[in-house]
């Protein structure tokens, strides 16, 4: 039975629809306490002391702790150490001597009821000497503001490149420069974070519910911070209400619930509220990218210089400086660019720390690169599609070695024909007709534009991945994986791969995921890696399982392996059907037989690189300058789609998030570092009225040679080029009289751009 490539219904849905699913908020344990976190109200201050006062004796309160009480806990570590010098910038579990952003944990209250914990929190006073906050990259600091910043708030510098950039610039016919800016944004999954730690007897360890994303890495880090044996730390993942890169990193609150549960010998629960979420969860983007291109008069890029500045916020969290590294590595995108030089600097400021958010570093890089291509087209009066054509890497050059590394791994585009995909997209979505009808509407006085952007994604193959298949007591085959479900439908996709390998129907399988005591290893779920990495491991495990299943049945039934065939939910031996549950009972009853378990590892040195084309059609309202995306088209080369509908769902959801990033989402701060966006009313995300007409074309022309099934990831291709495509469409709507190079393109931003044009573009718009 060929299960790969079928758009079967999701196995997750019945559970979710019947609301029988347990999100961490609805879990409760006997004798459970609730944690409330008291947070810094200041962007920057020297912490004198935290006065607990009456809070300790308030109703329901069991304990109150401040940073001083947990001084022995080390700061939260990185998953990769790019440079030991950066370790000084890790975030402490609670503030010790300095408060560095509004929302930094300063004290915790443990009480019998969440309301009582919060009540008591109000009685705690933070005594601090307020200091001027550092809010911009490149701010000169003095010893008084920040000892660790030594004169400047730049804490890291990344350089990447290849080829003779100097020579190319010296010989260049055109030199074109642009500056792009991406505002600070974050993922805002609909469920906030939550964690419950349930201590084991004698404080030997704990179970942590609410885990996601990278449970194995977090288990190790929690064990290190809390000085426990790694076997004592068990992470348990239930259902999670969206991840997008931000959920599941190890945050101070995860350590604090565990610490409190161990200290008090009682389960401790913490549920984040939404305004806390905006202060505490990783922020992202917040980059300025200057590009400088040496270009021939035919529009061919001979060399590119990139200067990237990242506002990292107050600390380096689990991702250290990874996002800036990725921006440098992926900026050249699908283009040849024979010489390239990128410098990224990472700056600490008194804002919430940043981490990864869906297509980290790539949403930013694609935006800048694609804006550059459009700038070249404009300067040389060429068609933007033609400029892309002339610069794309050709199929003959695949696999294409970029000659640089991304977070320590060589960037090699594994397979594809970028030109072919561009042409396919142009035909499938009829770009000439889209342009013609936009022009016609412009003639009628409407403000309509079409934008196109291309991108290359990467599917992280970090670490290796282990998967196990086990015949369970009820006759189901359990697929055990350490990767994580964040709503993307991974249970379905992984079950399809196992069903495909064994020829059994999907309902024979049960996914066991995110339980660190059930599987030894996992890289986790990020960078679109789950289906590719866990899927490949499952594919391998199912082959082993099949062999063992046949051997075991043969041994138990006294037959030779040749006479055994697999059938619907078991096997068939000389006309006799043996169900899987029956087989399991026979194994249990037999003194000689061992349980049916197949474990396999998969590792791949190379990354799989999906890629594609986005086309946006926008309309600008002449009265309020709001931008509406009318149509959004994506062509995406996925290698091989396990479940095409689920891939499309990923692309569509990602694109909608990207449209939010292009047009509305921005985290802002007052001049004294107070966050101004702490609710969905301030941080505006797309609603149903913002939904364009979507069309998605999945291409499976170039299976990836990096894994046995030819898979490439699906999670980030929808968002990657959305900022670039929407900005290009807005530019086109104004017949290239303005060049939007800052995201989001809010009405205010557009107003400012239009007021700067000398032909007074705003007034004719207004008159209509």
């Amino acid at each position: 039975m060929n299960m790969i490539g079928q758009s079967i219904d999701r196995v997750e849905d019945d559970d979710l629809l019947q609301a029988s699913t347990r999100f961490v908020g609805s879990l409760a344990f006997e004798n459970m306490l609730h944690m409330h976190v008291v947070r810094s109200p200041y962007a920057h201050a020297r912490l004198k002391n935290v006065t607990v006062g009456k809070a300790a004796s308030a109703p329901g309160v069991v304990a109150v702790w401040t940073g001083n009480d947990i001084r022995e806990l080390p700061p939260i570590g990185f998953r990769r150490i790019p440079d030991r010098d950066l370790l000084q910038h890790r975030q402490p579990v609670m503030a010790l001597d300095e408060l560095r952003y509004v929302g930094e944990p300063a004290a915790i209250v443990l009480a019998t009821d969440p309301c009582l914990a919060e009540d008591a929190g109000r009685l705690i006073a933070i005594n601090a000497e307020i200091r001027p906050p550092v809010l911009d990259c490149g701010t000169e600091t003095d010893a008084r503001t920040e000892a660790r910043m030594r004169g400047s708030n730049e804490v890291a510098r990344i350089e990447k490149g290849y080829g003779d950039v100097e020579a190319a610039f010296a010989a260049a016919e055109h030199k074109i420069s642009i500056s792009c800016r991406l505002a600070r944004q974050t993922a805002v999954p609909m469920e906030t974070r939550g964690a419950i730690a349930v201590p084991h007897p004698a404080a030997a360890g704990f179970d942590l519910y609410g885990a996601a994303k990278v449970p194995h890495a977090n288990r190790q880090e929690l064990a290190r911070i809390l000085s426990l044996d790694i076997g004592g730390v068990v992470l348990r993942e239930g259902h999670a209400g969206g991840g997008f890169g931000v959920r599941g990193e190890l945050y101070p609150e995860d350590v604090l619930v565990a610490f409190a549960a161990l200290r008090l010998g009682r389960p401790v629960k913490w549920i984040e509220d939404r305004s806390e979420h905006f202060l505490a969860i990783n922020h992202s983007r917040d980059q300025t990218i200057h590009l400088n291109a040496a270009v021939s008069k035919t529009g061919i890029i001979a060399a590119l210089r990139a200067r990237i500045t990242t506002d990292q916020g107050a600390y380096l969290r689990t991702h250290e400086i990874k996002v800036s590294d990725l921006s440098c590595a992926f900026l050249p995108g699908p283009y040849r660019i024979p010489a390239y030089q990128a410098t990224a600097t990472v700056h600490l400021t008194n804002k919430t720390p940043c981490g990864t958010y869906r297509a980290p570093g790539r949403f930013e890089a694609t935006f800048a690169m694609e804006r550059m291509i459009d700038a070249i087209a404009r300067t040389l009066e060429l068609d933007p599609v033609e400029v892309r054509r002339r610069n794309l890497i050709s199929a003959a050059d695949m696999p294409f070695d970029r000659q640089i590394e991304a977070t320590g791994k060589r960037v090699v585009y594994d397979s594809g024909d970028y030109l072919q995909t561009l042409d396919t997209a142009i035909r499938a979505f009829d770009l000439p007709e889209l342009r013609r009808s936009a022009e016609e509407r412009r003639q009628r006085g409407e403000c309509i534009g079409i934008g196109l952007a291309m991108f290359v994604e990467k599917t992280d193959t970090a670490l290796h991945e282990t998967a196990r298949l086990e015949l369970a007591a009820d006759g189901k085959i359990e697929i055990v994986t350490g990767t994580s479900s964040l709503g993307q439908g991974m249970e379905t996709a992984l079950a399809q791969i196992a069903a495909d390998g064994l020829g059994f129907p999907i309902d024979v399988f049960r996914i066991v995921r995110g339980q660190t005591d059930r599987i030894s290893q996992s890289g986790g779920t990020f960078a679109s890696r789950t289906t590719v990495m866990a899927g490949s491991a499952i594919h391998e495990a199912s082959r082993i399982f099949r062999r063992k299943l046949i051997e075991t049945s043969a041994a138990l039934l006294g037959a030779t392996t040749e006479v055994i065939t697999l059938r619907r939910d078991g096997c068939c031996i000389n006309g006799r059907n043996v169900a899987l549950s029956e087989l399991r009972a026979m194994i249990d009853a037999s003194a000689h037989s061992t349980q049916l378990i197949a474990e396999a590892d998969f590792s791949s040195g190379a990354m799989a690189c999906p890629y594609g084309v986005h086309i946006a059609q926008v309309k600008v309202d002449p009265d309020d300058l709001s931008v509406t995306v009318e149509k959004y088209h994506i062509a995406y080369e996925i290698g091989r789609a396990v479940n095409p509908d689920l891939v499309k769902a990923q692309l569509l959801g990602g694109a909608m998030q990207g449209i939010g990033g292009a047009l509305m989402e921005e985290i802002s701060f007052s001049s004294d570092g107070q966050p101004l966006t702490t609710s969905f009313a301030d941080y505006v995300t797309p609603r149903i009225v913002d939904v364009p007409a979507f069309e998605i074309l999945l291409l499976e022309d170039w299976p990836s040679p990096t894994n046995p099934l030819g898979l490439k990831g699906a999670g980030e291709g929808g968002i990657n080029a959305a900022g670039a495509a929407v900005a290009a469409a807005v530019e086109d709507a104004f017949a290239a009289k303005i060049a939007p190079r800052r995201l989001p393109i809010t009405p205010k931003a557009l107003f400012d751009l239009l007021s700067k044009t000398d032909d007074g573009l705003i007034s004719p718009l207004r008159r209509r």
């Binding site: 906030t192 209400g241 997008f244 998030q657 939904v691």
Partner: protein
């Protein structure tokens, strides 16, 4: 401000009468989730912005996080566990599933309550879209949710015009 005084309230929850003693400051979402065991009681913001907490109170979708439980005294409350009736529940579940209107599922109960209201009140597709705009979803890109509801409305129109 502490508030420990308990108030006795009762309401009908999915057809079953509930009597509870609750503090005045607790929201309906909190009480449905923590006291009544409704796993569909999802708090997405607690600020009235997202609609994850939407339940039907006396036939109208409301934000459970903005209503104190004591204000629901005497009300008829229906949640995504039951909706208006078993037929409607089954139809809505099937349509959501068929159209991939669920990813993480956190916003789903709220959208199901809105879909149920749309069907009960025989709204047009345009009105339906306006109604659905009340709630946020961060995963699906919404268009699958709109397709699911459009499908339900079309099926209803077909039934209505039949013999």
């Amino acid at each position: 401000m502490e508030d420990t005084e308990l108030h006795t309230i009762s309401f009908t929850l999915n057809g079953v009468t509930q009597r509870l003693r609750v503090a005045a400051r607790r929201s309906l979402t909190d009480v449905l989730g923590q006291e009544c065991g409704m796993k569909s009681a999802h708090m997405g913001c607690g600020q009235g912005d997202c609609g994850s907490c939407t339940v039907s109170v006396d036939g109208v979708p409301i934000r459970g996080c903005l209503l104190f439980a004591v204000q629901a005294d005497g009300a008829d409350i229906r949640t995504a566990e039951a909706l208006a009736n078993p037929d409607s529940l089954a139809a809505i579940r099937n349509a959501f599933k068929k159209h991939r209107a669920i990813q993480c599922g956190y916003c789903t109960p709220g959208f199901m309550v809105l879909a149920d209201y749309i069907l009960r009140n025989e709204l047009s597709l345009d009105q339906a879209i306006q109604t659905l705009s009340a709630n946020l979803c961060r995963c699906t890109g919404y268009s699958p949710i709109v397709s699911a509801v459009a499908d339900l409305l079309a099926a209803r129109a077909e039934r209505g015009s039949g013999p």
